[in-house]
Amino acid sequence: MKKILIPDPPVPALEVRDVTKNYGEVQALAGITLSIPRGELFGLLGPNGAGKSTLINIVTGLVRRSSGEVKVFGFDVERDYRASRSLVGAVPQELVYDHFFTVRQTLKIQSGYYGLTRNDVWMEELLERLKLKEHEHQTIRELSGGMKRRLLVAKAMVHRPAILILDEPTAGVDVALRRSLWDLVRQVHAEGTTVVLTTHYLDEAEELCERVGIIDHGVFVALDRKERLMQQIHNRRVTLDFGAKVEGLPEELARLGGTLSEDGLRATLLVDRSDGSLQRLVEALGRGNLPLMDFQVAGAGLEDVFLELTADSAKPDERRPAAEALR
């Protein structure tokens, strides 16, 4: 196969412009515009059914857009599909396998689909990195769920893609594997690969991603650097722990929305950091003679951003995976 040369002028790794997608009556994407520069680690978030997989599948070629433009390193995903696909490596959301083959054969065949015949050195490294070396001669049926997941990641990387797209790679994997997948993502990112990651675990996005887009009902409700998104949330959760039982909060604390626990040992408040409330809280604490023992301020996490921005759309049961993820 021809070697695909990535164009030199700084075209973005992924360029999505005004993309819509209708599945019959259902509008999955209602006008998505997104540009991901080379080397970025981008997090695509959103509640179930928001349209994340649809967007990813349009990039990989599994789904055809209804309108708009999608380019991978400047190559249109439909017109220049061979060039664009050879630059993309993707782990689909569903766990799918070809049961006729062993781990090694799977990687060998995958290499062949990408036009590579002499790929043994890299395949060897992938097997090592993903801890599949000892299972290389097993058929896929004989692998555990986590091993299958790792095999999918290895498959996606077999042709050293310039952009790696992971659609919920850590769904249903144990803590150790999750950490090792994070390490792998960080490693390939450090090596210069552009990474797009979809996840329902907001701590994962907070930990890994530089920039985050939150999709809801097929449009971006947020698209910014992670820190800036978190700054936009003004509320701070303040917890006060007392060394002795307190009988009722001072008036000023109550006015700031403070509530006292039943045992009188803890007070919690939600304080807006932008209107001087925090200042008033500290002054009130200085004046009052409360038996203060501990004082915590919790900043807003990505989860708060997520919940606030998608609040009216996500039904409670659909929101739970995201909310639980931080626990």
């Binding site: 070809d98 065949i109 062949g112």
Partner: protein, 261 residues
């Protein structure tokens, strides 16, 4: 794995897909090769040996020899159809079709990969049936080049049909319709077991609408030098059908019909 590492002009993705298709049916060789050969053997035994004497001769050949080309064609078309259609259906069902859909493989390469995989299986089964029948009677191989051309075009045609069916089918049940309602009746009524000269005029005319009739007779012409229909026209029609079906497959892949949502 014995994946061919030899330098080659053929594109690697195509060779890989072809390798996969062939490997797939070799894993279940009993089902894919042995079963059709045994059933052909049974036909030969029952019709050729046991009942054959009562049928007399067709076109000057004894019934056993008359039967062989039809049985070879039957194995050929069934297996050429089976390989791509079931491969595609299983891949869609298990979801691993995405491997091919996400890879930078050209549409023509995909079709040729599945097509040649199916042809290989069909021709292998056909050859095995022929070899086994030679134990009973050796045909004269009257027109060997014509014979090879017909075998290639026929297996190609049914492989392509298998691709169309495999893409179109949404359940295994959809797929089962093809052998049951189309391929088997057309082969049986296409003169595997008889010459249409024995049919009443009306049925003879109706039979002429059956494409399998031309294919079976063309193969018989290659083996025995006799045919109910014009062998030149049969070959030309076969080539045209192959080209048309290839075009249909190409259009299906280009538009993403039932493969890309």
């Amino acid at each position: 794995m014995s994946f061919p590492e030899v330098p080659s002009l053929l594109p690697v993705p195509f060779r890989t897909l072809l390798y996969r298709e062939v490997h797939r049916f070799f894993i279940v060789i009993n089902q894919t090769l042995l079963a059709p050969v045994i059933s052909a053997l049974l036909y030969l035994f029952i019709f050729g040996f046991s009942l054959g004497d009562r049928f007399g001769s067709f076109h000057g050949y004894n019934y056993l020899l008359f039967l062989v080309p039809g049985l070879v064609m039957m194995g050929l078309v069934n297996n050429s159809f089976q390989n791509p259609s079931s491969s595609l259906m299983i891949s869609k069902f298990e979801g691993n079709i995405v491997d091919i859909l996400m890879a930078p493989i050209g549409h023509g390469e995909i079709i040729l990969g599945y097509m040649l995989g199916g042809m290989f299986r069909g021709l292998l089964v056909g050859t095995c049936i022929l070899v086994v029948s030679c134990l009973f009677a050796i045909p004269p191989f009257s027109h060997p080049f014509y014979l090879v051309a017909v075998a290639l075009l026929s297996s190609g045609l049914f492989s392509l049909l298998g691709i169309v069916a495999g893409i179109w089918a949404e359940k295994f049940d959809d797929l089962a319709m093809f052998p049951t309602f189309i391929i088997t009746p057309l082969t049986y009524l296409g003169g595997v077991f008889y010459s249409i000269s024995i049919l009443p005029p009306l049925w003879r005319t109706v039979s002429l609408l059956n494409p399998l009739l031309y294919m079976i007779n063309a193969l018989r012409f290659g083996f025995l030098g006799v045919s109910d229909v014009n062998p030149g026209w049969s070959l030309a029609a076969l080539a045209i059908l192959d080209a048309a079906l290839f075009g249909i497959c190409l259009t299906m892949l280009r538009t993403g019909y039932r493969l890309r949502k």
